[in-house]
């Protein structure tokens, strides 16, 4: 009797411990993710009645030139944005991590300094760097008057061809230390066992780097690539903050995140053509694009424990 009442109480308390987390996550995260599957089938401007339209949002997205051109442009520019960032992070990240992994004087100070931008808010970084690269800003003063590299100021965010790479540079400036630290910890982890063995075999420094260090960096490279990919395909903060939901100039900085935002909330105050169903459809398509990468990341982490 006493035992069963303990068990009852224990069961009840287990439910009580589980409930808050499950409800919180269920209502505000899991349900919306499942809701994508339902909402993508309706046409609904956010107020008033919903209209069930079946797969029309998807046929519009891939068939109607108005949406298709935006999709192709947003996706293509998102890929360019991603490619610039990942190239910068892997090349420069490996380069700096290697330099820091030698018996470099003051390497702990450098590591801390390099990490400084990482915890800063994206909004603050965006506004700060935007001020720096304005045509009358400090960077242009340095380039024109200081170093005489160019004759007249460069409109980093005003030129359609330069705006997207400039935003990618902002992102890289903000997140570079993430790559440096992951690669550095991979190098440090491999050193102890493998490098000593390689050295006993009489390998030179260059041989050791080529045969031992780089193969071990592959997992870190993959991890960085996947995390950055998931991030840049859902997070459009820089574009939203600096270029607005239309991705000015002339949609040159439009990426998937801004396209999704615009289709639900409109590009400007006067937009009337908004559709939550279309936004859900774009969300679903983007989720499918990043799903292989994201699943890979999840499986890798599950296997680890």
């Amino acid at each position: 009797m006493a035992k069963s009442s303990y068990k009852q109480k224990a069961n009840w308390q287990r439910m009580a411990l589980l409930a808050p987390g499950v409800l919180l996550y269920g209502i505000f995260n899991f349900l919306p993710l499942l809701g994508l599957l339902a909402l993508c089938l309706v046409d609904w401007p956010g107020i008033g009645p919903m209209e069930f339209v079946g797969l029309k949002n998807f046929t519009d997205l891939f068939g109607n030139p108005f949406f298709r051109d935006q999709l192709i442009r947003a996706f293509g520019q998102n890929m360019i944005f991603f490619a610039i960032i990942i190239a910068a992070m892997l090349l420069l990240g490996t380069f700096f991590a290697l330099l820091l992994s030698f018996g470099t004087k003051g390497r702990h100070i450098y590591r801390s300094l390099f990490f400084l931008p990482y915890p800063l808010a994206g909004a603050a970084v965006a506004f700060l760097l935007e001020l720096i690269v304005r045509t009358r800003g400090p960077l242009n003063v340095l380039l024109v008057q200081g170093l005489h590299l160019v004759d007249k100021p460069i409109g980093f965010l005003g030129e359609p061809s330069l705006a997207l790479p400039t935003l990618a540079a902002f992102y890289s400036w903000h997140r570079m230390s993430f790559a440096i630290i992951l690669i550095l910890s991979a190098i440090v982890a491999v050193r102890i066992q493998l490098i000593e063995a390689a050295m006993l075999d009489g390998a030179s420094r260059r041989q050791t780097l080529k045969a031992v260090v780089f193969p071990v960096l592959a997992p870190a490279f993959i991890l960085i690539t996947v995390i950055v990919m998931v991030d840049v395909f859902n997070n459009a903060d820089y574009t939203l903050l600096l270029m607005g939901p239309e991705g000015s100039p002339g949609r040159a900085t439009d990426i998937m995140g801004t396209f999704l935002f615009r289709s639900a909330f409109g590009g400007s105050a006067t937009t009337v053509d908004v559709n939550f169903g279309m936004s859900a459809a774009i969300g679903l398509v983007t989720a499918l694009i990043i799903l292989p990468a994201a699943l890979f990341l999840a499986l890798r982490n599950l296997r680890r424990d």
Partner: protein, 280 residues
């Protein structure tokens, strides 16, 4: 091993030079911001952005602070991020405790549901999320933003805490159970003290992420009295865009709390990055 990684003097010099150049690139924008935030007027910022201010105008910070409701924004950001820290650490640790130590039929499936949130970012489900928040009447309230931001942190927090809990032996809990302790007591007196290091990582990640979050408040808040500092900054920028010295001061005000958090806990930061670097 030491010999292999020791640098010859010339190599050392080259490496130092390269690292100094990158340090300059990292520090340049922040240094420029500090220097120019202290200049008395815009003209001086234009004329010599790298020059020392002719007079040190500390008033700029006061002007930025009072000119743009920074105290309201700061208060809202503090309420949001501290509430998120409390909600996420409590909810995620109790959930992880039940999933790891008291598994039941369906607990693996439940864990899988949490992992879906790690895989698919909530921003993609912006439209359904908006519908739910609206139908609960939580639009334009701090409570709504707190719940949404906490829920978005839950998957990573549950992931970190379950991994940590799986790695510690259950001996203490078993002993407490033998003494007749109920789950509440075991959770509060045994498990929470046990997983404190992982809770610290989760708390730090949650604080920084919710303090820095721009997108979710943008979607769910309308009235300026509810704005956190990230949204407040955009308001500030609308008013002071051309007054660069005040813009720099405002940006620096916004950066201070995260820089302080970083200085206090840089080691946990780097740990959290390698452990739970899933989100970013």
């Amino acid at each position: 091993m030491e010999r292999l990684f020791k640098l010859k003097p010339l190599e050392q010099a080259v490496v130092q030079l390269i690292l100094l150049v990158y340090t300059a690139i990292v520090v340049f924008p922040i240094g420029i911001a500090i220097l120019n935030s202290l200049k008395p007027n815009l003209g001086e910022v234009y004329r010599s952005p790298f020059g020392i201010p002719s007079e040190w105008s500390w008033d700029n910070y006061a002007e930025a602070w009072f000119g743009a409701n920074f105290s309201t924004y700061f208060m809202n950001s503090a309420i949001i991020s501290l509430s998120c820290v409390v909600v996420v650490t409590l909810c995620a640790s109790s959930t992880a405790f039940v999933i790891v130590r008291m598994p039941f039929r369906g607990s693996t499936f439940l864990f899988g549901c949490f992992m879906l949130g790690v895989v698919i970012p909530i921003r993609l489900a912006l439209a359904p999320l908006f519908v739910i928040v609206k139908s609960l009447g939580l639009l334009d309230s701090l409570l709504g933003v707190i719940l949404v931001q906490s829920a978005s942190m839950m998957p990573v927090a549950v992931f970190i805490l379950t991994a940590f809990l799986r790695a510690v032996p259950a001996e203490l809990e078993d002993a407490a159970k033998m003494d007749g302790a109920l789950p509440f007591e075991i959770y509060w007196r045994v498990v929470v003290p046990l997983i404190r290091p992982a809770l610290a990582t989760v708390a730090l990640l949650t604080f920084v992420q919710s303090w820095n979050e721009y997108f979710l408040p943008l979607i769910f808040l309308q009235s300026e009295s509810n704005f956190p500092i990230t949204l407040g900054m955009t308001q500030f920028r609308l008013r002071f865009d051309v007054q660069w010295h005040l813009m720099f001061a405002g940006i620096l005000i916004m950066l201070v709390p995260t820089i302080v958090a970083f200085l206090l806990a840089s080691r946990q930061f780097i740990q959290g990055l390698t452990q739970g670097g899933l989100k970013e």
